[in-house]
Amino acid sequence: MGAFLTFLTYFACVVFLTRFLSHVQSWIKAAKQPAVRAISQRVSPGMAAEMLLDIVLLRRLFRTNKLLWIASLTFHLSLLIVVLRHLRYFLYPVPDFVLSIQNAGVAAGYALPLSLLVILIIRSKSSRDRYLSVYNFFLLAILLLTCMTGILLNLFYRTSLVDIKAFIIGIVTFHPDTLPDSIMFVMHFILIIMLIPSLPFHLIAAPLITVEARKREEELGLVLHEK
């Protein structure tokens, strides 16, 4: 089982990387075409700061849906903390900052599924924009299940940290180790393997477009107006 899961992990990573490189290749190919832009402004430090805030604080979402903004910001922030917390399984020795966020990581582990539930409810209850793509539903469902199994592991199915770490570091260093003896961990791990190849490209593409949007908005006033 351990060998099979290790193989599945590598396979999932290869699928993700192949998808990713194929997309990047198509973007680079298209770079040959001229950008459709009447005006091209230099990015000032002020504009760069605005771009960063747009991305980090999801400010464009704040403009359109405040409740969804709160849920999304909570989701992204708690996901980040949870991922950082999980670094303790990948790194040896564990850096101090990872150790310092362990408690916050547990709290984020609860906030994460709650925020996902709120997002799901907003999406399905909203009267006019009742739109949830199959892909998004699949992603949200996998994430929710991953959170649930993670919480169960933390609360009721405590598994040896040493065993988990040995297994994970074995995969990372291409020296596979024994699978920890915990059905909950196996379920949690399988869900993550399912998540890896399905990771959406908007993780990378959306921030790039948010930067473009800020530039475009700044340039709008210059299309027909003097500087």
């Binding site: 192949t18 998808r19 194929s22 997309h23 198509s26 973007w27 680079i28 298209a30 770079a31 075409q33 001229p34 950008a35 459709v36 009447a38 747009d54 999801l58 464009r60 979402l61 403009r63 359109t64 849906n65 969804l68 999406r123 909203s126 006019r128 924009d129 009742r130 739109y131 949830l132 793509s133 892909y135 998004n136 959406p200 490209f201 908007h202 990378i204 593409a205 959306a206 790039l208 477009i209 948010t210 473009e212 949007a213 800020r214 475009r216 709008l220 006033g221 210059l222 299309v223 027909l224 107006h225």
Partner: protein, 400 residues
């Protein structure tokens, strides 16, 4: 259907990244005017992107590269075609997009892809290229009727001048009070201006651009730019937002270099003329008026303050605002050449604009786009709510 031509070739790098950047959150559906009147998520912006991604995947992804192009379902092509062409290309979805997709630009390029693959244009749009070739404009009307029905005889047009006025096809054939108002106001400002003879003032290219038919765009642009340059033009004034949009944003690309003159919307010129005393309101207007921002003027080229400045300077007037105004404006239904095929949608959207203006107790609904002017007037026919519709320059001409 086996489609050998890969999809995605007509998009720029940014637009390809935009397709990947859509999170399919569905927020845009709340702002889409087509959704407002059809309630059909199958033709919504994220669905269009999902379907288009699917076509790229089938024809331009890893699988087709390794195993040849996959089979594309006829239904997918039909659904995407409907979704692409039922859209009014107003860009409200991009404006409200939490990521910031530039959909006012993405959708026309998606339509260009559809045309390249023989999937568009649809309905009467398909004849447009031929009609423009034959008559110079998209309305199948003779060039000699371009100015004659509305142009005031007393107004003098110079052979050459630094300022030129471009009436545009929709204004000249479908919104005559608007273009008449334009030239009356221009003349009243004392600014000498020139115009091209009717047979030379051909289509600006926007109807072709917006329906994805790009073959003639370079030729039309070069003809117009050269003609104005020969007349010594330094600024080209136009009142049609769509014309102004393509002139400012795309003509330099089709022309291959910077234009030899500036493009200005008529409200910019008039606002300036009012501020420096060349124009003055002689009459007052004791009415509540509401101004509708055309999508391609506000979201498209950022002309938002000038129309308000003009209207606000009319003595005694009370200027009202739509709930969604400025860059957030709601399409009146006339956009994207969709009105030529999906007439009922366009009328329903036009009526939403009329309804809100009536609910806000406006005495007049002020427009500044010939397509809006034509369609909102049409939407009033048989509608239980009525309001006086006027073009901004038609109104200014009455009061100066």
């Amino acid at each position: 259907m086996k489609n050998k031509k890969p999809f995605g070739r007509e998009l720029t790098r940014t637009q390809l990244v935009e397709l990947d950047a859509c999170t399919q959150c569905g927020e845009c559906l709340k702002y889409c005017p087509v959704q407002e009147v059809t309630g059909n998520p199958d033709i919504s912006p994220p669905e269009k992107i999902r379907m288009f991604r699917e076509l790229i995947k089938q024809t331009n992804g890893i699988k087709p590269k390794l195993f040849g192009p996959g089979k594309i379902s006829q239904k997918l092509l039909e659904d995407l075609t409907k979704a692409a062409y039922e859209c009014t290309v107003c860009g409200a979805c991009g404006q409200s997009c939490p990521v910031g997709l530039f959909n006012q630009r993405l959708w026309p390029m998606l339509r260009k892809e559809m045309v390249k693959h023989g999937l568009g244009p649809i309905g009467p749009q398909a004849d447009m290229q031929k009609i423009i070739k034959e008559t110079g404009g998209p309305y199948n009307k003779p060039a000699e009727e371009r100015y004659s029905p509305w142009f005031p005889e007393e107004i003098k047009v110079m052979e050459s001048a630094e300022t030129a006025y471009y009436a545009g096809c929709t204004g000249a054939y479908c919104a005559m009070p608007m273009v008449k108002g334009d030239v009356l106001v221009l003349a009243a400002s004392g600014e000498p201006f020139t115009m091209l003879p009717p047979e030379e003032e051909v289509c600006c290219g926007f109807p072709l651009f917006i329906t994805g038919q790009h073959d003639m765009l370079e030729d039309l642009t070069v003809r117009l730019v050269n003609a104005y340059e020969e007349r010594g033009v330094k600024q080209l004034i136009c009142s049609c937002p769509c014309c102004v949009n393509i002139m400012a944003r795309d003509w330099p690309l089709f022309y291959g270099k910077e234009l030899p003159f500036k493009i200005r919307h008529i409200t910019q010129f008039v606002d300036n003329a009012l501020k420096n005393g060349k124009l003055k309101f002689k009459k007052s207007l004791k009415e509540k008026i509401i101004y509708h921002d055309p999508c391609y003027l506000s979201r498209g080229v950022g002309v938002i303050k000038e129309p308000r400045s003009i209207l606000g300077s009319i003595p005694d007037v009370e200027l009202l605002e739509f709930d969604r105004h400025g860059v957030d404006t709601r399409c009146c239904g006339a956009g994207g050449a969709a009105r030529k095929v999906f007439h009922e949608n366009a009328i329903a959207m036009g009526r939403l604009t009329v309804d809100e203006a009536v609910e806000k107790n406006a005495d007049k609904l002020v427009l500044s786009c010939p397509a809006c002017y034509e369609k909102v007037n049409e939407a009033m026919v048989g509608h239980d709510r009525q309001i006086k519709i006027v073009d901004i320059m038609e109104l200014v001409a009455e009061l100066i």
